[in-house]
């Protein structure tokens, strides 16, 4: 290569992006935190967060929620000292009734939740004790070793296998307002994605709850898993040891002063480990349920930002660097 040629090439290089890259001189933006910027950022955060917080708080307050613990009330007084034997004794009737008074107008749909506390659905042994493949493909799927100790009974596979399905919640509730039965919609309570893709349409319960030790609810062997919505809801394991699960929806408004009588079958055993059972009626909005925390958090973060902004502004005005 001749001298001039390489010179020209070098000159060409200087302008090329690659040259700038190798010389670490790519065009770059170097933001520097100047007081005006910082103060603006804090004000901005404050001015966004406080209104959002207030808005969230209002949303939370607009949710009407009635909650009632029933696991103790429903135990007949003679069994109060030995609740475990009560729940295990099949001869004792388990029905029980609760009375809900509506203090605020509740607009339909009103969601019915059952709430369990001190129930570790996220326990490692529990979480793993399921077979998603089997739920989708049925009992022909054999890789269900995770389901132990509830993998098979009497040398036949259990469908659905595993602890989670075995411990299916089986209290039932009926709601009466005045004289009339409130209609409870128990469909569409599980995720559509679960029903469509996760639980098999041709998978039927098999050999379920046939052992010596019954954990919870039984399943109708003629209904495919994809339609067993209580199971699907139950199988979505909760994140925290105290959780709600959707039971159904009341699709009528409840007025102030209405009394709702809940007839329930108190079948599910939480007594042996000190768990609590609650029944919850709640309206819903964009926020979900009643929860003031996030609103308060927003207001707090927003107002502290504003404080910091004001402090910085004063400091900046007093001593400009």
């Amino acid at each position: 290569m001749s001298e001039t040629n390489s010179d020209r090439q070098r000159r060409g290089d200087r302008e090329s992006a690659f040259y700038l890259f190798t010389q670490q001189r790519l065009p770059a933006c170097k933001p520097v935190l100047t007081p005006p910027w910082v103060i603006t950022i804090y004000f901005l955060v404050g001015f966004i967060f406080v209104p959002v917080g207030l808005f969230t708080l209002r949303a939370s307050h607009s949710v009407v929620e009635i909650e009632e613990r029933y696991d103790i009330e429903c135990v007949p007084s003679q069994f109060r000292n030995d609740k475990v034997s009560y729940i295990q004794d099949d001869s004792v009737p388990k029905n029980c009734s609760l009375l809900f008074k509506v203090d605020k107008y509740m607009k339909a749909p009103i969601y019915i939740y059952y709430q369990l506390e001190n129930y570790y659905q996220n326990h490692r042994r529990y979480v793993r004790s399921r077979s998603d493949q089997q739920l989708l493909h049925g009992r022909n799927f054999h890789g269900t070793s995770y389901c132990q100790p509830l993998e098979s009974s009497n040398n036949r596979p259990i469908v659905p296998c595993g602890l989670i399905a075995w411990s299916l919640f089986n209290d039932t509730f009926t709601f009466i307002r005045g004289k009339a039965l409130l209609k409870v919609n128990r469909t569409n309570i599980a995720w559509k994605s679960d029903r469509d893709h996760k639980f098999g349409k041709n998978v039927y319960p098999f050999n379920f709850q046939n052992g010596t030790w019954i954990g919870g609810g039984k399943l109708n062997p003629r209904i495919p898993l994809s339609n067993q919505e209580d199971l699907i809801v139950w199988m979505r394991i909760s994140a925290l040891p105290s959780f709600r699960k959707l039971y159904g929806r009341i699709e009528e408004d409840l007025d102030v002063g209405d009394y709702v009588v809940v007839q329930l079958m108190n079948d599910y055993n939480t007594y042996s480990f000190g768990g609590k059972k609650k029944l919850v009626l709640s309206t819903s909005n964009w926020l979900g349920g009643k929860n003031d925390f996030l609103g308060l958090a927003y207001v707090f973060v927003g107002s502290s930002s504003l404080t910091v902004a004001i402090v910085f502004m004063l400091l900046h005005l007093r001593s400009q660097r």
Partner: protein, 1182 residues
């Protein structure tokens, strides 16, 4: 343009010299005065006759060793021309080489074996293995080995590619052809088939296929010239000799046989000892009789030798090892913090297992009935515990499982990221055009890949002088002949444009380099030796042309009538002198072992070389005994003034001696390197006496070097001083500015040189190392006691000077600048008494008070000793920079070694961690790249600690809500991908590309380098602040969703997705907040990572067989999700932001101020604005 990719540059295997071989022979390479030559010559009479050559006289040790009997067990016996008998027991390697590490079969096991040498991988592996135990299976099989598999795969692919290239190179090498003697004729044979014992013939410009002992060459005296550029990078020719016993044998015609007994293969390329039995005679062989594989035969039509070492046993192959590995300061600090982190990890695991123990104990009666525990398996005939191993074991399992879950608390990926970042940083350093040396076409080289960030914390720079501060292109400047100073600065005559030339057969012969000539001196030189001055001048230039070991090479030029003479030699000083002599009409035309031909003013004259005493570091002079055409015999000596005046005849013309001494003083005070030339005419009796002594000495079996030195000392006496020469060693471009920048940056520059004191001081002045403001303390003593005394005085004096000025300026901010600077000048003789004894302590104390230290007349090992002196006593980083073999020990001793790839071969480069073309690049290297690298790496380490700890803590908080059973809401795949995909790229990109300040600012305010000295970017305080911030951020990430979703229908997968996204977005925004320089790559990396994470989460949640199927879509549909995300990010970052802002406004560091100045001052103005910097820490850290 160099087409090599950086990776190629970094990993290419060069024939690096091993440390053992580098250590070998510094004494022989002392370069202050001419280099040693290789031979010693003796003649039985005046005519050229077959001569004997010994090994190098100067290497007395090597020589003595070779005289020792080599034990048969330690020896290799080579039957000349009988490879079968030689290798009867098949113990010698064949000549085929394999530099490739693996074959197809062994690749997998060997590569894995090598990869698992790293602790990080072992940790990975142990965790993965633990996870395979059914009781401990936290992650799925596949997920748990994925990260390890990715890392192993990437490394394996890289290794395989490199190995493939090596195999390819080997194949080419093995199939080259050489002529080998088979059945009395030379046949072409592939290199790989050559065997030890075979006789090989090599023609001009061919490469030597294996290590051979020379038997004969085309030259009647048995000289062969070789170029060793492939071996040590030195381009000048070296001479090798065949023994006279074998010289006349013609292998094709007669049966050559004999036995060579040589040492076992070793990697010392400068040493060889053996003896050879030929025709019943026993001759000893030395390093000058062997040609090593990889050298090229030059200037010699053919050479015949016998293979002694082949293939992997050749010295070149034995030296095929990489650069030494060092560990950076930052990494050492980091390892301490890693220990903290592992303690923290242990603490977390202990908390979990203790809580689990308590929980299990409290619920021990319920375990069978808990629906979420179900200890007993009732379905079997016998009620069995299912997956329950008793309280104690359950706790152990809990502990181990928590180690598996929290494993990334120890940021193993950091080690891999750091390696990648260093490769990236090295790439930019290599590509930097400001560190590209155009004249020599040499780029910056990164030879050590793991100490990039140390460049940002250098406190001491030890520099060689010759070739490092100066160009080492010697130029003859002036001469003092017979007491008259001829300074060519006076002006130049007209006809010297093309310099001197001679015409031979119509062809013009001209020296390659043109030297400025002094017209007056030229006049005398031309006038012939009739006048008195003329005869002195004649002798002077004759001495210059003859008294050396230069080999003239005649080079063709495109112009057929013009030929150039290129003087090849090992010493640049000698080259300069010979070129000078040629310019004055004394052109060395030919040099063989027996005679030299010098063209004197157009008339060719032949001089017989009767003897040559080569240079050694004790005598510091060399001499040659010439038989002149007029049958007189003269000895010419040139050497250092210190030793030359000791052997002159002082009774003769003292005035001339005095004048010469005065001239020498003035030469050296303007920075010239001086040599004194002396001469004596020998009477016949003197010559005979010398000759017989020389014969005896060179045939002696024991202590030959000592005897030869004695002979030399005897003959080099009562000399007549002919004159002295002054050679300029030009300062490299930009050296004064570079030294000033380094000094402003708070780096102490020590110059260690072999030059004499006056030269060193004058170079010190011209390089601005010394200034007139400085007080000089000079220590040059000859005994331990006087050294102690002068050190004591010097300490008192330096203290007085520094404290005195310190008191007067106590209030001022400019304390650092106002001290009276003290310069310490110390010489090698004093150092002999000071180093390695209790005086070291005093010297160190003294040196700390001085802002400049100049050591002159130091030997190579003393250089290392001085570096060690500082390194042992401070924790400050040291850097040594040098270019020659004599700097190797110092380069290896220092924390960072920098080699200048200059004139003097490549030994220094081979030993160095970084290599560059010019001294001034050191400023860019340290102030710019060092600063950047340090800042980037420091931040990257902290950030990696933070990002892994945040994730682990989020997992930990959740564990507290799951009966301490190590459940994770975050999907296992996300846990695995977190450090692989979600967060790895931005930190690497920022680690390579972020710039806290631009180059211009860093060079303009060298004080900014102090950030590294003060450890501003990585220290304990920052670590703990980061860790506190980590705890806060993880708590925000975890508890905001926990409280917002408390008691709702939220399922584990959905909230897990929220946590995953929150962590990833937060750590990336955290990084974004700290990035200083945003270019499009940074943008792409940070925002791209977030997008990639979202995509990964979506993909994971679209797999129906996983628990979290469709969770992200369900949760992202709710407003609560987005509100949580927003509040997490803002609330988590606010404290950090407040602290950052307060810190920047109220206690800004220099870097911060400079950054704002860079941003807000218009370019034109910024030159005028002075930014005030922190005073430089002057005291060393203990």
């Amino acid at each position: 343009m160099d087409s090599k990719t950086p990776v190629e540059n970094l990993y290419s295997i060069e024939p690096a010299l091993s440390s053992s071989s580098r250590r070998s022979n510094f004494s022989a390479h002392s370069k202050s005065v001419g280099r040693s030559s290789i031979r010693e010559v003796s003649f039985s009479d005046l005519g050229p006759k077959p001569v004997k050559y010994g090994s190098r006289g100067a290497e007395s040790e090597t020589y003595n060793m070779s005289q020792k009997e080599i034990n048969d067990e330690d020896a290799r016996l080579v039957q000349i021309n009988d490879p079968v008998k030689t290798n009867e027991r098949f113990e010698f390697a064949g000549n085929s080489i394999r530099t490739g590490k693996y074959s197809v079969l062994t690749f997998l096991p060997r590569n894995l074996f090598e990869q698992f040498h790293r602790v990080a991988y072992i940790y990975f592996l142990v965790i993965a293995v633990l996870n395979q135990l059914p009781q401990l299976a936290v992650f799925g099989r596949f997920a748990s080995i994925l990260p390890l598999a990715i890392v192993l795969l990437v490394t394996a692919v890289k290794d395989a590619y490199e190995d493939y290239r090596r195999h390819r190179a080997d194949k080419i090498e093995n199939n080259r052809l050489a002529s080998v003697l088979v059945n009395h004729e030379f046949q072409q044979k592939k290199w790989k088939d050559i065997q030890v014992g075979e006789i090989i013939k090599i023609h001009a410009n061919e490469t030597i296929p294996c290590d051979i002992v020379l038997l004969s060459t085309c030259d009647p005296t048995g000289v062969a010239y070789v170029q060793t550029i492939n071996l040590d990078g030195e381009s000048n020719l070296k001479t090798r000799y065949a023994k006279q016993e074998t010289l006349l044998k013609i292998p094709e015609k007669e049966n050559v046989s004999g036995l060579i007994k040589c040492e076992k293969p070793n990697r010392n390329i400068y040493g060889f000892q053996a003896n050879m039995e030929v025709d019943g005679k026993r001759v000893s062989l030395g390093p000058s009789n062997i040609i090593l594989r990889g050298c090229e035969l030059k200037n010699t039509t053919w050479a015949i030798g016998v293979a002694v070492y082949a293939g992997r046993e050749t010295k070149a192959m034995l030296n095929n090892s990489g650069a030494p590995s060092k560990r950076s300061r930052l990494e050492t600090h980091m390892n301490l913090e890693i220990i903290f982190l592992s303690l923290f990890l242990t603490a977390l695991c202990t908390v979990v297992s203790v809580c689990a123990a308590v929980w299990l104990r409290r619920h021990r009666d319920e375990l069978d009935y808990l629906p979420f525990y179900r200890r007993k398996d009732f379905y079997e005939e016998e009620e069995d515990n299912y997956n329950y191993y008793g309280w104690g074991l359950e706790i152990v399992f809990t502990f181990l499982m928590s180690v598996i879950v929290f494993q990334i608390m120890i940021p193993i990926s950091l080690y891999i990221s750091m390696e990648l970042v260093r490769v990236g940083q090295a790439y930019f350093m290599i590509r930097d055009t400001q560190m590209y040396d155009e004249p020599s076409d040499s780029r910056f080289q990164c030879r050590a890949l793991n100490i990039n960030e140390d460049l940002g914390q250098i406190k001491y720079v030890f520099s060689d002088k010759t070739g490092t501060l100066t160009e080492n292109k010697m130029e003859f400047q002036c001469a003092s002949v017979w007491g008259v100073d001829y300074n060519s600065g006076k002006g130049s005559s007209q006809d010297q444009k093309d310099g001197y030339f001679v015409e031979v057969d119509g062809k013009i012969l001209r020296p390659k380099m043109v030297v400025k000539t002094d017209p007056e001196l030229l006049q005398f030189a031309r006038s012939g030796k009739d006048t008195k001055e003329g005869s002195h001048v004649h002798d002077f230039f004759l001495a210059l042309a003859a008294c050396n070991t230069i080999v003239p090479l005649i080079v063709d030029t495109p112009d057929p009538t013009l030929k150039l003479i290129d003087y090849q030699g090992e010493s640049p000083d000698e080259q300069a002198l010979v070129y000078a002599a040629a310019a004055y009409g004394y052109m060395l035309i030919e040099r063989t072992s027996g005679h030299i031909v010098i063209d004197i003013q157009g008339e060719r004259q032949r001089f017989n070389v009767l003897g040559l005493h080569e240079f050694d570091s004790d005598r510091k002079r060399m001499s040659v005994i010439l038989g002149l055409p007029n049958k007189s015999v003269k000895v010419f000596v040139k050497g250092a003034d210190t030793t030359m005046f000791g052997v002159t005849d002082r009774s003769l013309n003292t005035s001339i001696i005095r004048a010469t001494e005065a001239h020498l003083h003035s030469y050296s005070s303007i920075g010239l390197r001086t040599l004194v030339i002396g001469m004596r005419e020998l009477s016949t009796s003197e010559f005979e006496e010398w000759h017989s002594a020389f014969e005896v000495a060179s045939n002696a079996l024991m202590g030959r070097a000592r005897l030869l030195r004695k002979v030399a000392t005897n003959i080099e006496s009562n000399l007549r001083i002919l004159g002295a020469s002054g050679i300029e060693d030009k300062l490299q471009e930009g050296v004064p500015e570079a030294i000033e920048s380094l000094r402003t940056a708070g780096i102490k520059v020590w110059v260690l040189t072999g030059d004499k004191q006056e030269t060193a001081i004058s170079i010190g002045y011209s390089s601005k190392l010394l200034t007139s403001k400085m007080t000089q303390i000079i220590v040059n003593r000859n005994s331990k006691e006087s050294c102690r005394k002068s050190l004591e005085d010097a300490i008192i004096m330096s203290k007085k000077l520094t404290t005195m000025s310190g008191n007067t300026n106590d209030t001022g901010r400019t304390l650092g600048a106002s001290l009276t600077p003290v310069a310490l000048i110390i010489d090698g003789t004093s150092l002999v008494y000071i180093l390695d004894c209790e005086l070291e302590e005093m010297l160190f104390e003294l040196a700390c008070n001085c802002s400049v230290v100049l050591c002159c007349r130091v030997a190579p090992l003393q250089k290392a000793g001085i570096v060690a002196l500082v390194k042992k006593r401070t924790s400050d980083m040291t850097l040594a920079i040098g270019d020659g073999a004599n700097d190797v020990s110092m380069i290896q001793m220092a924390d960072v070694g920098v080699g200048i790839s200059g004139q003097e071969g490549r030994q220094a480069v081979m030993a160095s961690d970084f290599a560059m073309g010019q001294f001034r690049f050191l400023v860019t290297l340290l102030l710019v790249h060092g600063h950047w690298n340090y800042q980037r790496m420091g931040y990257m380490i902290l950030y990696n600690f933070y990002k892994n700890a945040v994730f682990v803590l989020v997992l930990f908080w959740y564990v507290l809500f799951t009966c301490f059973t190590l459940s994770t809401a975050i999907n296992e795949w996300s846990s695995v991908l977190y450090s692989v995909i979600y967060t790895s790229v931005p930190t690497i990109v920022v680690g390579i590309l972020d710039k806290d300040l631009n180059r211009r600012t860093l060079l303009k305010y060298p004080q900014l380098y102090g950030a590294g000295h003060r450890e501003e970017c990585y220290n304990k305080r920052l670590f703990w602040i980061t860790m506190i911030d980590t705890v806060w951020q993880s708590a925000v990430i975890f508890f905001i969703p926990l409280l917002a979703y408390g008691g709702s229908t939220i399922d584990a997968s959905s909230i897990g997705d929220l946590w995953t996204l929150a962590v990833v977005i937060l750590v990336n925004l955290h990084l974004a907040m700290d990035v200083i320089c945003w270019n499009w790559i940074t943008h792409a990396a940070i925002w791209g990572s977030i997008v990639a994470t979202v995509i990964c989460v979506i993909i994971i949640d679209a797999i129906p067989s996983l628990v979290g199927y469709w969770a992200i879509f369900q949760i992202a549909r709710t407003g609560l999700f987005w509100l949580c995300l927003l509040s997490i990010i803002v609330a988590a970052l606010i404290p950090r932001f407040v602290v950052k802002v307060l810190y920047q406004f109220y206690t800004p560091c220099d870097v911060q101020i400079a950054r704002e100045a860079e941003k807000f001052q218009p370019r034109s103005e910024s030159a005028a604005v002075e930014v005030e910097m922190n005073p430089i820490l002057n005291q060393p850290r203990p």
